[in-house]
Amino acid sequence: MTRWHSFRQSAVVSGLYRIVEGPIDEIALEDTVRTDADGAVIVFRGVARKFSRGREVVHLEYEAYPEMAEKVMAEIGDEIKERWPVSGIAIVHRTGVLEIGQASVVIAISAPHRGEAFAASQYAIDRLKQVVPIWKKEVWDDGSQWIGWEHQAVH
């Protein structure tokens, strides 16, 4: 399993932002973000869903612009630190072929209290979907399509 190397960005908040090609080690992520001052660790796992837009998905393929994706995820981490008193943030997204049920993204956030951890987790996944350069392709029995065009109005 992947070994995570967290780096302390300040005395209070640690951050870890990665694009990986294999399975995401959630337990290692939890351990990375939790400190003894924390009363809450929220782990959000985004998983490959079988039904999408009325069609049955065989599998998903994710592609990233890895260098920029990690940079933009770190910027999301900075935005979170400005808004909530969290202790640790880890955002890891997987690329390549994913079978139904496998985790495409895991976000782990720790904080002294649960309210901040919940709010920061929601913000992290919402922002990731808006700005991080990662793309999902749905593969069906009879074809495939890159997803994202339905959000054109956002841009």
Binding site: G46, S104, K129, V132, P133, W135, I147, G148, H155
Partner: protein, 93 residues
């Protein structure tokens, strides 16, 4: 692929940038990377216009553009060695 020109020639004739294409843009182009030479003073929008002649998909579905891994507007001027990424609407998560 453009030939690598001596630097004094490059300064006079144009600047070389590295283009990266992803997802639907990559598939439409048939490649993930291109080396392009644009006139000195060219802006991001000029490169988009130039590339769209080869890859109409860049205009058919407008995404975002990043220079050196930062999102930019089309009026930003390009510099020698810039990495310009054409980013279709994102769908991570």
């Amino acid at each position: 692929m453009p030939e690598i020109a001596p630097s004094h020639t490059a300064a006079r004739q144009g600047i070389d940038v590295r283009v990266r294409l992803f997802a639907s843009y990559r598939e439409a182009a048939g490649t993930a990377r291109l080396d392009m030479t644009v006139p000195s003073g060219a802006r991001v929008g000029d490169l988009l216009e130039l590339l769209a002649q080869r890859i109409p998909a860049l205009l058919a579905a407008r995404g975002m553009i990043a220079v050196n891994q930062t999102y930019v507007g089309s009026d930003v001027e390009l510099h020698e060695g810039d990495e310009v990424a054409f980013i279709p609407p994102v769908s991570g998560g």
